[in-house]
Each structure stands twice: as C-alpha cells, then as structure tokens.
Symmetry: C2
Subunit: 403 residues, 2 copies
C-alpha cells in the first residue's frame, strides 16, 4: 500500500476505530442549544494535552493538565456556555465531579477523563443540569456521535468544525479525526479554542508528544483573531491503538507520515476557526520573510495581526501598506525601513520602504478578495514566520459588547 | 509671591512671552480645512524633543531628532493630512526644504527649525502647496495665533487641544502653553500624536531635558487608545527665557514647581487626546497595584488596555471582569489568580480571584458612567502603574476603514 493521506470531509472524532461520542442540550445555554459533548474510546490509550499559557487558567484546565501528565486517557467531557474559570474551590470541585461521573459511567479511573469548558468567566456551573446532561450523554454514546459532539461545543461559531483523515501507514490503514470550536461565546463572548483529536494509530508516548506539539505549533499557534489568549484553550489528542499497526516511534519510517497527517488535520481545523471568526469579512495570511531570525519574524507578524488600524483597513478594502510599515516598525523586530518590500498576492506595493509605483487599482483588486496573502520581506536575514488572521469589523464589536 | 500654578483654559503656545503662531489651509487636505501650523519664538532658546520609538520613523522625525540634538530651537512647522513617512529621499528633501523655508523667512539657522507631519503614510508631500502655505503662515504669525495653530494640526480630532499655565516662580511669573493633536487621520486614519509646548522660563539644558522626559513619562506615555504607536509621534518643548527668571537648574528650589507645571500641562493635553479618541464612548483609568514590580504592573495595565474583548465589553456597559482576569493572565506579569482583587470605582467585583458577591446592579451603574476607574490589585508586591484608555466602538472601526 502506498503512503497517502485522504481527507474525509464528513469525518470527526468518531472516524477512527473504537471511538464513540455524543452531544446533548442540558440547559447551561438559555436557548436550548446543545451545550455538552462526550468523546470516549472503547479502551484506554495514550493521550497528549496542550493547554493555555494564561496564568489565570480555568479549573478544567488545571484538572486536565494534571491528568494528561499521567499519559493515559479514555474520555473527554466538554461543555459550552460556561468557562468554569475564576470559580475558586467550587469550580475545582465541579470539574472533578464531572470527570468522576464520566469515569464511573464508563468504568475507568477518574485520571483517564479530561474536562474542557468554554463560556463566561466567573460564574459557577449549574451542576444539577450538568449531572443530568452527563448521564444523558453517556446513554447516547455512539460511533456516529461525532457530529453531535462537534455541535455541543459551539458558542458563537456559525458552523461545526470537524474532519477526518484516512492514512495508509505501512501495511495498515489508520484513521484520525477531530472536532474544534473557535473564537466567541454566546453570553457573552470570550475567545476560546477547544480541540479534541482522536486516532486509532498505535504510537509511542514520545512520538505522540512530539507530533502533537509540532502540529499545534504549525496550526493553532499560527492563528490570531483578536489577540486575546483565553483561560480555557485546550488541545487533546487521544490514540487508542486499535488500528493494531506496529507501534510508531520517533525512529519509525512512518513517523513522518503520521506527523504530516496530524499537522494537516490541525491545520484544517485551525483554518476553519479563522474563517468562522467573530464577525469577520476577510482571512489574511501574513508571511514575514528576511527577518534577522524567526523570533523577529514572529514579532513582526503578530504586530501586524494585532494592529487595530491594519485590521480596520482590510475591512475597508484599503491597501493601506503604511499601516503595515508602522506596525512592523513598533513590533520590536529589527527593521531597516529602506530594505522593506511588501507584496499583496504577489503584487508589489512597497519597494525598499517606499511605494513601488504599482497602480492602486491592482492592489485594491487584491484586498477586495475574501482571502489574500501579504508578504513582508524585511530584507535583513533569513528568519520567516506565517500567521493566519482576520480583519476587524463593526460586527465583531457588536457581538462582543456583551449584555 | 507664593508658589502657584494657574490654568489658563483659553491659553496655548502663544501664552508665554515672545511666542508667535499661525495656522493656514494650504490645500494638503482636500476639503479646505486648516492643515499647516507655525509656532515661532522671537528669539532662539533651548529645546527638547522626544520622538516615536517606531523604527519606521518619518522623514520629519529623522530631521527634527537631528536638530533637537543640538539643543537650540526657534520654530516648529507642522502639517496635517500627510505623514511624509516611507517617502524615501524625496521625503527627506521635502522635510529639509520645509525647515529651510521657515528658517529663511524668520532669519535663523535651519537647525533651529523643527518639522512635524501627520497623515497618510507613503504619499509624497504636495510641495507646491506646502511652499505657498509656509509663506502664508510666516505672513500671519501673531501673538494671538496659538488657536489657529491648534486647528492647523487636527485630523479626526473633533476639537483643538490647547492650554496655558501661569506659574509664580520665585519673584517672577512664568508662562507655559501647549497645543496637541490626537489619534486619527482624515484620509485615512492613523494614530499620531503631536505636541508643541512653549515656555518663557529660563532653564538649564539639563533641567529642561529632565523635566520634559518626566512629564512625558507621566502623561503621553500613560495613554492608549488603540495600541498603535505611530511613525510620527513628536513632543517638542521650546523655552525662550524671556521671563528673565534666574536660570532654573536641577538644583534650584524652583525646579520642582516647573516640573509640576509641565507635568500638569502635558497631563491635561494627554487627557484631552484620550477624551477625543476616535469614536470612543468611555474613558477608563486602569490602576494596577500589588504587582511584583513596576514593569509587571505596566504589562498588566497594557494587556487590559489593548484587549479587544475588554474594550468591547466597556462599550457594551458590561462589567465583565472575567475578561480583565484573562487579560492580566496572559500579560506576562506574575499573577496568582487566587490573590487578585478588582474594584470598579471602589465597588469590589473580584475578591481573591472569584466574584466578590457584589450586586451586579452596582457594577453596572459604574460602567454606565462616561468615565470610571478600574483598580486591579494583584496582591503580590508593591509595583503599580496607571494608564488612561478608552473603549472600542463600531464607530472606531468605521472611521478607520479608510477609503
């Protein structure tokens, strides 16, 4: 069998063998939408968790981080509508109870269950509703439940984010699947990113760790909608080994292929999050080249992506490269303005720090597109960085005004 | 005479003895508004200039920085409607010509003239119009011209920013005056801050330097509207000595009083800039206390002031303290969430990282006010920082969409 990766657009966390899922509406959200999701493997497997770097981490993050350190996982329970953050000892007790209830329902140690929450900060969970919801979710677990689980974690997302992959790995076929939610909360809105990836591949603990970290670095760490890093961001990867392939280690020939598949899956889910960002009208890929090193390239890219003035001009379809120059100028990166070149989808706007003389019409044609790429070449070294971001719209402000 | 500082609300750069000014409409702006201002002392004096730290500095900044290093100043020529930034050798030649034309008009070395520009980046100045405008401005110089000069530097500001002060300094009366412009440009919009301060006080070069740096650190460096640091920010302080007071040195008893007056003047102008920020509806003072040091306090304050989610919730009059917790959590400052207290105008919202149990009504009453103060006590050390900022509105986005 030749090595190949085949996307399964309708796939999700239940695409890999031995994974069940469900989604239910338990009443955390006022309007009766789904707000609880459960993902579960038929047997325990390896797990890797990557969590927000925010120092005000939510209770479910603290609990899941502790469980992930043990490396063995069976299930993930996720709720939307409430972040269970800044909720003190009560919040920690509630997160623990969620894990315990799932563990007793499926029959595994509590340490093999992970908890994710997303929603308003500072409000205790309505545990009466959550308990009933967990019991319901346990009862509805099914190999077709991935779509419901994708729905159960949504907030202001306008569509569910899920995907599967089939990979020819040596003599075996293995599968990967994922669900994710993006930026925005209903009542009110907080940028939070949650993602659960499942695979039936058998991997060494080290191989899974390395692959997950690399894939996250190239996907979820390369997107920015509003620059707000949440208290709840979580990515979990569960591998149950049911494909019964020879264990993939860092030294295996198959590692590179698994890495490619995982990176592809997370990259697609990350792009879906950006494309469905709150109130956005443009998706913009920023490529920084010629920086003195990668750190400087990242600083320049993030300054551009975070600049309100830059984001507003994209929304207005104005190829205002002066604002790009200003943003890289204050980014902290080494910049010699007389060496900077800037291109919009390959059309040169800036040559050596000055306008390139291109007809404004050509540049405006690019920024009218719903998606375009801006390449900024600093002309100093070989550091480069890629970042996917969005414009800033009146609708974003309206959505996030809260009550 | 007792030491006292008396605000002159109608004052400006022409309040101190021996300063003339003018403002004209020379056609840089399409709609015929004033777009050129000239401030000039009858005789040369000391000067201090403080400039943007943006590495993509505009031509007038490069020129004025070089002139300011010589320490002697006579006049400042300022234009709005065009930033003369990213304009290469042409831009540098244009800025130099502006200084030369003013110098030859008033009869002083070119090095005693300073140039400030604000407006769109990347477009060469219409020098035909600028030359005529400078000649007109020279012809209209007058001791009552400060108000016109304040008008000539405006962009999307909705009112001119100017003020004067009378100070009893030992046996003498001295005067200070200032004009400033805030965030926003007409076609299109770029956050740029320009300020010219005049005084007839006689000070040593060192005393003027120290006083100016301290005053800027406490005023213009403590405001944030959209977090974008421009290519053109400039603060110039001219002291012509015509009050004929005994020279104030760092060791003089009068230094402290001069410092207070200059800090007061810049503080008032800085506040006017924030209050007139683009499209804003709220002015919010952020006080960080209990940080491990001042650097951490500043990081926490700036993270809060730059958070789109925080700014949107203020606009929506939602006392969403969870977003404040999230922002300090990712600020890079040392934070122990279980020690954080937060107060809105003294009403406690957060106690040791959890909701304080205050009635939501009391908090909502505070955030409905046009101006309020948020105190965040990190409960770790004694580092503190104060920052004045604004909300983010749909109107800001509309104003900055450009074309």
């Amino acid at each position: 069998m030749k090595e190949e990766i085949t996307p399964i657009e309708e796939g999700s966390v239940t695409t890999p063998r031995g994974f069940l899922a469900s989604g239910v509406a338990c009443g955390i959200k006022a309007r009766g939408e789904m707000d609880l999701a459960l993902v579960c493997s038929e047997r325990s497997g390896r797990v890797v968790g990557l969590f927000t770097e925010n120092r005000v981490a939510a209770a479910p993050v603290l609990l899941s981080r502790r469980h992930a350190a043990l490396g063995v996982g069976r299930a993930v329970i996720l709720n939307s509508g409430n972040a269970n953050a800044c909720t003190g000892a009560t919040g920690m007790a509630d997160a623990t109870e969620m894990a315990e209830r799932v563990a007793s329902g499926i029959g595994c140690p509590t340490e093999e269950v992970f908890v994710c929450s997303t929603g308003r900060i500072g409000v205790p969970l309505p545990m009466g509703k959550v308990r009933k919801g967990i019991d319901q979710a346990l009862g509805r677990l099914s190999p077709q439940g991935g779509s419901d689980a994708a729905l159960g974690i949504l907030t202001t997302d306008t569509y569910p984010k899920k995907m599967g992959l089939k990979v020819g790995l040596g003599e075996q076929e293995i599968f990967l699947g994922g669900i994710a939610k993006g930026a925005g909360m209903i009542d009110p809105h907080l940028a939070t990113m949650l993602c659960v990836i499942t695979t039936d591949a058998d991997l060494s603990s080290e191989a899974l760790q390395v692959a997950a970290r690399r894939a996250v670095a190239e996907s979820f760490n390369r997107i920015s909608i509003d620059g707000d890093c949440s208290t709840n961001d979580t990515v979990l990867v569960l591998a149950n080994g049911l494909a019964r392939n020879p264990t993939v280690t860092l030294e295996s020939g198959e590692f590179r292929l698994f890495q490619s598949a995982l990176s592809l899956l997370m990259g697609r889910l990350a792009r879906m999050i950006v494309e469905d960002g709150e109130g956005i009208s443009k998706v913009v890929e920023i490529l920084i080249e010629g920086a003195s090193d990668e750190g400087d390239a990242e600083r320049a890219a993030r300054a551009v992506a975070h600049s309100l003035l830059v984001k507003c001009s994209w929304h207005g379809e104005d190829p205002n490269w002066g604002r790009l120059m200003a943003a890289i100028g204050y980014s902290g990166a080494a910049v010699d303005k007389d060496r900077v070149d800037i291109f919009y989808n390959g059309v040169q706007a800036v040559s050596r720090g000055e306008r390139a003389g291109t007809a404004g019409r050509l540049l405006r044609e690019v920024v009218r597109l719903p998606q375009f790429t801006i390449l900024i070449d600093l002309g100093i070294g070989s550091g480069h960085f890629r970042l996917l971001t969005t414009d800033l719209t009146e609708r974003y402000v309206r959505l996030n005004k809260g009550e």
